[in-house]
């Protein structure tokens, strides 16, 4: 019974998923990005035949291998969690997620078993061309396997190509192509993978900066930096471009998320973008506190970002909760009425079907269909529940964007001083370079916080809230596994990072 749901169970289950997802997301972006850079290095080695380029390639390959091993099995835990903590959700999306996640698993396995093996084992054992081809395939394959999980996440944000089947209580896939080419999926894939390219570039930048500071492996570090900085710079540009696309998609399909991450309560035409702001984290949607302690807004920009139309209206949290008749915006309160009808008709359908009354069932189904788009709202108790955590969304978004603006400047600085051949003397820049990796980590995690916290309360946008998605478990069991994960991950992180640090301190083979 929904009424008996243990609210703290939902919180612990969310916390557990967040913990495992964030842990997973430390390692995956490095894999997705560094495989391209390694392919670049390997290609240069094959072109030049230089032993130094060979050692350089092998070194970064080794670090990639360590990172990959650390990341192994961090994803599968989340699939365990689907089945245990989120059984209603897992059942309802099973038909949609089943194919994509199966493809991902199978594709990833074959990729790893073949091309990875050739990449690592193939030095002097297979032809140079096949070896290089394998390295490129590792990059292509890992990025392609990321497609599927991102398609699944995009579907949660914008559930396309489906119809709810009341007999099976499942969202059934009606159009595979619609699901795969969901504009949110394409934007998410391009943004996430290019952000990973950027992140991997920062990783190489950081380690190479450290070597230059120590005066070790100087030539290798300089070469690594040039390639990483160029890739990072171009990737940064594309990250910004795809980020803009992501915000546009949010405005179209998840306006509440956009309003939250901009701290926009009162919708307006010619809406401004917050360049800098100290958000008031105690503000609730139905009080009259000021959303910000302090803010600097650039007028008009948010309207452009959200709708690509000058001066257009951008709905704020208040408009989306209480409605705005002038702008034709249906508020959460009205959606809740429709949602409650949908749930009631679903219940009626179930009862009619059981009683063998086909006519009654058909009638109930027809009314359900008219209201099915608002199904999720029927589960909310108050319209204010439709609002995600605003302060967290706002801060995460702005941290991500600020860092995302700094990174290309850093790459440019490194390239400039490389051009002047005075990079080794710029201790300040090299010192900054060393910490860039950690800033990249923060930006990456912040991005996912925006995506997932911003979509609350929805497990499936508008159709299924997180409180209904969960399993009927008590908080106790979830608490236990949460702490188990915490301990396990901490031990693993320490063990694995120490392997990485050891190999970094050993450095590449030198001739």
């Amino acid at each position: 019974m929904i009424e008996n749901v243990d609210p703290s169970m939902v919180s612990w289950a969310r916390a557990q998923f967040a913990l495992t997802a964030m842990y997973h997301w430390i390692f995956v972006p490095l894999t997705l990005g560094i495989t391209w850079i390694i392919a670049f290095y390997h290609t240069i080695y094959v072109k030049t035949g230089s032993e130094e380029w060979k050692n350089l390639t092998k070194f970064w390959m080794k670090l990639f291998g360590i990172n990959f091993a650390i990341g192994v099995a961090t994803g599968i835990i989340m699939e365990f969690e689907f089945g245990t903590n989120w059984s209603n959700y897992s059942w309802m999306v099973g038909d949609i997620f089943g194919a994509p996640l199966a493809i991902e698993g199978i594709a990833a396995f074959f990729l790893e078993a073949t091309f990875f093996a050739v990449m690592f084992f193939g030095w002097n054992r297979v032809s140079k061309r096949f070896h290089l081809f394998s390295t490129w395939m590792v990059a292509v394959g890992s990025n392609l396997s990321a497609v599927w999980i991102l398609v699944a996440n995009a579907w949660m944000q914008h559930p396309v190509g489906q119809a709810f089947n009341p007999d099976t209580a499942r969202f059934e896939m009606h159009n595979f192509s619609d699901v795969v080419f969901n504009p949110v999926a394409v934007s998410k894939f391009t943004h996430t993978t290019s952000a990973s390219m950027l992140f991997a570039s920062l990783f190489i930048l950081s380690i190479s900066s450290w070597y230059l500071l120590k005066g070790r492996h100087v030539l290798m570090a300089k070469r690594s930096i040039v390639v990483a900085a160029i890739f990072g710079l171009l990737a940064s540009g594309f990250v910004g471009f795809t980020g803009d696309e992501a915000a546009y998609e949010d405005a179209q399909h998840q306006p509440m998320k956009l309003a939250a991450f901009e701290g926009l309560y009162q919708g307006e035409k010619n809406a401004g973008l917050v360049a800098f702001g100290l958000i008031n984290s105690s503000k609730k949607v139905n009080d009259d506190q000021d959303p910000f302690h302090f803010e600097i807004r650039i007028p008009g920009i948010l309207s452009m970002l959200a709708n690509r139309k000058f001066g257009s209206f951008v709905p704020g949290i208040n408009d989306l909760v209480y409605g705005n008749e002038e702008q034709g915006i249906m508020g959460a309160a009205e959606k809740m009425e429709k949602g409650k009808i949908a749930i009631a008709q679903l219940d009626a359908y179930k009862k009619f079907k059981k009683a063998g009354d086909e006519e009654g069932a058909a009638a109930a189904l027809s009314i359900f269909d008219q209201n099915r788009d608002y199904l999720g709202y029927g589960f909310l108790n108050t319209p204010e529940e439709a609002v995600p955590p605003v302060a967290l969304s706002f801060n995460a978004f702005h941290i991500m964007v600020v860092l995302g603006t700094i990174f290309p400047l850093v790459f440019l600085a490194f390239l400039y001083f490389s051009y002047k051949d005075t990079l080794q003397e710029q201790k300040w820049l090299l010192g900054g370079g060393v910490i860039m990796f950690f800033l990249g980590l923060i930006a990456h995690q912040a991005g996912w916080v925006v995506a997932e916290v911003g979509r609350q309360p929805w497990a499936i946008q508008d159709l299924l809230p997180v409180t209904v998605a969960r399993s009927n478990l008590t908080a106790g069991t979830v608490q236990t596994t949460f702490f188990m994960f915490l301990v396990l991950f901490t031990i693993l992180l320490i063990a694995e990072v120490s392997i990485m640090l050891k190999q970094i301190s050993i450095g590449p083979e030198e001739n």
């Binding site: 019974m1 929904i2 009424e3 080794k62 291998g65 360590i66 091993a69 650390i70 192994v72 099995a73 835990i77 365990f80 969690e81 089945g83 245990t84 903590n85 059984s87 209603n88 897992s90 059942w91 309802m92 093996a117 690592f120 084992f121 054992r125 297979v126 009341p166 099976t168 209580a169 499942r170 009425e337 409650k340 009808i341 749930i343 009631a344 008709q345 679903l346 219940d347 009626a348 179930k350 009654g360 009638a363 109930a364 009314i367 029927g378 589960f379 209904v468 399993s471 009927n472 478990l473 069991t477 236990t480 596994t481 188990m484 396990l488 693993l492 063990a495 694995e496 392997i499 190999q503």
Partner: protein, 92 residues
């Protein structure tokens, strides 16, 4: 010196591939430690966590898909079931 598989099928593609993998694993250095970590992790994930703490909720409680569907439907229509008939809305 490296041991290579000898015998009638020594030059068969399958044998060459197998040899490639076997030699590859033998020659690992850092890889050995990494594989140890991977194996330990997989044992903990699948042998302990999955087995004892992460049973599939619907999988273990019900034996047929129809039962699972019915249960989920019951869960999601519970708010309606709790309301008195007069405010269920729509035409019935």
């Amino acid at each position: 010196m490296e041991q290579v598989y000898q015998g009638r099928f020594a030059s068969s593609p399958l044998a060459k591939i197998a040899d490639f993998y076997i030699q590859g694993f033998r020659r690992m250095t850092v890889g050995r430690t990494l594989w140890k970590v991977i194996i330990i992790k997989l044992i903990i994930m699948f042998g302990v966590l999955k087995l004892f703490f992460f049973q599939d909720f619907l999988g273990t409680r019900f034996s047929t898909d129809q039962q699972r569907a019915d249960y989920v439907l019951e869960q999601i229509t519970a708010p309606a079931a709790a309301q008195p008939a007069s405010i269920q809305g729509g035409e019935l």
